[in-house]
């Protein structure tokens, strides 16, 4: 590596770390998702009282998502081990229930940009009462990948097929 290459590499690192800014709070995440390339907002209503939805989030979030996952991929020329820790947070008030899912790569992936405490935000689900028997869900979620996690959160909201997602998928 000559001087030019070193200089270019340093410039790229500085440029990337300055250019890629990750949301540092759930509120920043909500604001960033509508304009993000790889994320979207999904809104729907479920026929369940708000208290039940909030209760399911409180129950299933920590049980299913507070995990450290190790995946191993192997090809003829490479062997990759990725260790990821997921952190769920559930906040409930009389008018709103929030589920935040963060992740942090412990091994196998290099992070670019400042990582919030607890890890990068992956998904935020907001539940709010519409009527006695209906609840509105605003799901701020990735538009590519993590389909199993997204489906699990939808199921928790609807109270159907309540289970834990296989986060290795």
């Amino acid at each position: 590596m000559n001087r030019f290459h070193r200089f270019a590499t340093i410039l790229c690192v500085i440029w990337l770390s300055g250019c890629i800014s990750h949301p540092q709070t759930p509120e920043e995440f909500r604001k960033a998702v509508p304009t993000a390339f790889s994320a979207k907002v999904e809104t729907f209503e479920v026929d369940r009282p708000f208290s039940q939805v909030a209760n399911t989030f409180q129950k299933m979030g920590p049980n299913c998502l507070s995990k450290t996952i190790k995946t191993t991929s192997q090809t003829k020329t490479s062997y990759q081990v990725i260790v990821t820790t997921y952190k769920p947070t559930v906040l409930v008030t009389p008018k709103k229930a929030e589920l935040h899912v963060q992740f942090h790569h412990d091994q196998g992936v290099i992070g670019v940009g400042k990582e919030p405490e607890g890890g990068y935000y992956l998904l935020v689900a907001d539940a709010s009462p519409v009527s006695q028997s209906k609840t509105r869900i605003d799901l701020y979620r990735p538009s590519m990948g993590h389909g199993v996690l997204i489906q699990a959160v939808r199921n928790w909201a609807a109270g159907e097929n309540v289970g834990c997602p296989d986060l290795t998928k």
Partner: protein
């Protein structure tokens, strides 16, 4: 030629024994009363992937330390296991998945604490379908068919004195029990 075959067989057996020993897994030794009845339905849902379920059983000490006691492979639809009564055990249900297409493997754990009562029977329903898994433990009274779901507890609930009183939801489904908390 015959000696060569014998030599190859012995080498294979030795290698297999070495690998089993090195994996750190040991077969769980049941207690005489088979009080835990595990029903397993695990399906990866694809020709190009597989999923295997097992349960690791740990003893939980009073100071919340765990001691690994062995593993039961959940490779049959129903398996009976004997867990010591009047003592906390940590059951770690492990789902190992493998994708042949991507040559990718991963492992998911679901753990819960259980303190079986003498004479009671425990039904565990373990399911893995459409990349979702679920573990439900129910306790049945020895002299009746009434059962209740055992609330999920993990080591974060330690010290164990704080989790002695578990919630009761008779004859309720997992979803019902979730809803009953409201």
């Amino acid at each position: 030629m015959k000696h060569r075959r014998t030599w190859i067989c012995l080498t294979c057996l030795w290698t297999a024994a070495f690998l089993v020993g090195c994996s750190g897994l040991k077969t769980y030794e049941n207690t005489p009363d088979n009080n835990l009845h595990v029903r397993t339905a695990a399906d990866s849902g694809s020709w190009f992937s597989s999923v295997r379920a097992a349960v690791d059983i740990h003893r939980v000490t009073v100071d919340c330390k765990t001691e690994y006691e062995g593993t039961v492979q959940l490779n049959r639809p129903r398996i009976d296991v004997g867990i010591p009564s009047n003592r906390w055990s940590r059951l770690v249900f492990v789902f190992d998945s493998y994708s042949f297409w991507a040559n990718r493997s991963g492992s998911m754990n679901y753990e819960t604490l259980l303190k079986p009562r003498p004479g009671y029977q425990y039904e565990v329903k373990v399911t893995y379908k459409d990349d979702m898994y679920n573990v439900v433990v129910r306790e049945t009274h020895p002299s009746s068919s009434v059962s209740r779901e055992i609330e999920h507890k993990d080591l974060r609930a330690c010290p164990l004195k704080s989790i002695e009183g578990s919630r009761v939801s008779s004859n309720s489904s997992p979803v019902d029990s979730l809803l009953s908390d409201t």
